[in-house]
């Protein structure tokens, strides 16, 4: 063996392909985005973390105050209740819709998708305004009940928990439909046909094949809806009542009215941690499912 090939054998056993120059050059294209995120996202988050520990000197007084406050615990409980209920409801309503759309032919499906996309892309304020009109005392539902059924509904439908739930679920359903729909469309039809031929009833095919295969999408939807819900601000403010204040509204209160940045920041950090914990728990569910 000549010297050249002996050296190459030694090289080859290192087992790495040297990267070509174009790969490095293309990687530099990410520079503007990285700078933007570092400067306008990472730094603000770090500032929130620092602010939460600072009130005329470094202190954890902010956290102590929060954890000792009954208001906080009540609002946290409200937030978690609303988050979990809204996520669950939107999954329950979104799954059948996704299932239905998956059965359609191409053109009707495209139209159905636009019908789901439209509320997705509609401003939350438009939606909130519309629900106030629909659910209000002189609103559509109550007016119709009065006129056609001579029924005077005792309870309000808006500016309370009902209003918040309606608003949140309406907001969340499209986020459930898309991942589940993609999953259902990607399932090869042969699996269902095979199950039918083997004797399974339609119900069994659904529960033992289709539903199980769609579990990862369900978990993904759950994660997304939880992350979205936990930090909502507008819906409880406009459609909810005093008892429906969520953590985001509390943060707003401390920032704009109490002018207590430390408390606001501490709350924000807590919200981030809770949100992160929920994501972590839900992704565990996903991996358990794989075994």
């Amino acid at each position: 063996m000549s010297a050249v090939s002996a050296a190459s054998v030694a090289d080859a056993t290192h087992g790495r392909a040297r990267r070509a120059a174009p790969d490095y050059q293309k990687a530099w294209f990410s520079a503007p985005a990285v700078v933007l995120i570092a400067a306008v996202f990472v730094i603000p988050l770090v500032i929130v973390a620092l602010q939460s520990l600072y009130r005329e000197g470094f202190t954890i007084a902010g956290y102590e105050q929060i954890l000792g406050s009954t208001l906080f615990w009540r609002i946290l409980r409200t937030t978690l209740e609303i988050t979990l209920e809204a996520s669950l409801l939107s999954l329950l309503l979104g799954y059948p819709l996704a299932y239905y759309i998956a059965q359609l032919d191409r053109t009707p499906r495209a139209i159905a998708m636009i019908l789901v996309l439209l509320p997705f892309w509609t401003s939350i304020l438009v939606k909130s305004f519309a629900f106030i009109v629909i659910l209000g005392e002189q609103g559509i539902i109550k007016t119709m009940l009065r006129q056609f059924l001579s029924l005077e509904l005792g309870t309000s439908l808006v500016f309370n928990r009902i209003g918040v739930m309606v608003g949140m679920v309406h907001f969340l359903i499209p986020f459930c439909v898309f991942p589940i729909l993609n999953n259902l469309l990607a399932q090869p039809p042969e699996l269902r046909r095979a199950a039918l031929i083997m004797g399974a009833s339609r119900r069994q095919v659904f529960f033992r094949v289709t539903f199980l295969l769609s579990l990862p999408a369900i978990v993904a939807s759950a994660i997304m809806t939880v992350v979205l819900s936990i930090g909502v601000f507008v819906t409880p403010a406009l459609l909810g009542g005093r008892r429906d204040m969520m953590v985001a509204n509390l943060i707003d209160y401390y920032t704009r009215e109490a002018l207590d940045w430390t408390m606001a920041a501490a709350l924000a950090v807590m919200l981030l941690l809770i949100s992160g914990a929920l994501i972590w728990v839900l992704s565990r569910v996903d991996s358990i499912d794989r075994h």
Binding site: V4, S5, S8, V9, D11, A12, H14, G15, R16, A17, R18, R19, A20, A21, P22
Partner: protein
């Protein structure tokens, strides 16, 4: 006096983590060669082509172009041309602009560009389609535009990665002819990748057989077909009958092999064999003739057997003869001249010693 090969690949290896895509490949390409890299899917032939192009970097080894080490040179400065299976034409440019693309990069002036592009279009016989867009053309036409684009700036070497794979049989044969014509007319050097051995045999001046990330064998089509040097080559290029046996020494200018199932066979003289060594014999189906047990067969290798299958393929009769319980030999003879042998009749297979290839690996 040796002429510097236009491209030299020296001990090139490409490794991704645990996967070896190419191992220690060494090959020289002479100016004017039409070298085909032939092998099954996943054999590493495209990896080798891409490393020559510079698109895939080497883990070790070198690529030399006219003696200069180009291993670290990026693909846009190697001065090659390349044609792909899925054409890779720019959808937003007209046919004219697609072909003009490399010339514009080289800052050629407009009138020169116009001349050269029209020449290239004439070469591939697409002169009237200059203003069309790729999606308005058929697959065959798109590939011809890609060819024109690859030759218009007179690159040193033209690399082709299974360019005819996406076309149907008739188109493929037509374009094969056009590519050979281009090769002859331009005096270009071509490195061609395919898994189709018929294509390789008909188009190349030399074939490199690639398998399992290694260059197995390099030779002319004639050598590859009539004198393969490995069992893999014998099996991959054309159909072959393979028989196992042991080498029993030379006699009368022929090498003799004792077959596993019994019987002595004479084959082309082969060097480097040890007595008693295990060898494999290769016989092409068209080299064998069938004779009845009474025919004269002086000087030929002989094997007796029973006809197991016999069918007309059109130009040939295809006969399968069972020589023993495990061995079946396929024989192909021109239907115009050959006799027919019914199934279950006993026959003799006869062939010339010089048509027997003895392989050690």
């Amino acid at each position: 006096m040796t002429v510097t090969p236009i491209v030299s690949v020296r001990n090139a290896s490409v490794v991704y983590g645990k996967t070896v895509a190419l191992h220690d490949a060494t090959i020289d390409i002479a100016k004017g060669d039409f070298l085909t890299l032939l092998g099954p899917s996943g054999s590493g032939k495209t990896t080798l082509l891409n490393s020559i192009a510079g698109v895939v970097p080497l883990s070790s080894g070198q690529i030399l172009v006219e003696g200069t080490d180009m291993t670290a040179v990026p693909p846009n400065r190697r001065g090659f041309g390349m044609v792909f299976q899925n054409y890779a034409l720019m959808p937003h440019l007209t046919v004219f602009e697609n072909i003009a693309f490399p010339l514009r990069i080289r800052h050629m002036d407009s009138s020169q560009i116009r001349t050269k592009v029209m020449e290239a279009l004439d070469l591939v016989r697409l002169a009237g389609l200059a203003e069309r867009r790729p999606k308005q053309l058929s697959g065959g036409q798109q590939q011809r535009v890609a060819l024109a684009r690859a030759v218009v700036y007179q690159p040193k070497v033209i690399l082709m990665d299974e360019p005819l794979g996406a076309l149907d049989k008739q188109l493929r044969e037509g374009l094969q002819g056009e590519i050979r014509h281009l090769h002859a007319m331009l005096g270009a050097t071509v490195v061609y990748v395919t898994h189709d051995q018929e294509e390789a045999l008909s188009m190349s001046t030399r074939i490199a057989l690639i398998s399992d990330a290694r260059v197995c064998e390099v030779g002319t089509p004639h050598d590859m077909y009539f004198r393969p040097r490995s069992v893999f080559a014998a099996g991959f290029v054309g159909t072959s009958n393979l028989l196992k046996g042991r080498y029993r020494g030379d006699a009368d200018g022929w090498s003799t092999v004792e077959l596993a199932g019994g019987g002595l066979v004479r084959g082309a003289p082969t060097v480097g064999l040890n007595t008693g060594a295990e060898v494999t014999l290769m016989l092409r189906p068209e080299a064998i003739d069938l004779a009845t047990l009474d025919d004269a067969t002086a000087g030929l290798n002989l094997l007796e057997g029973e006809v197991a299958d016999h069918s007309l393929q059109g130009t040939t009769w295809r006969t399968v003869v069972a020589v023993d319980a495990q061995t079946r030999i396929v024989v192909q003879r021109l239907s115009r001249v050959a006799r027919s042998f019914p199934v279950q009749s006993r026959v003799r297979l006869c062939w010339r010693p010089e048509d027997t290839v003895i392989l050690t690996h």
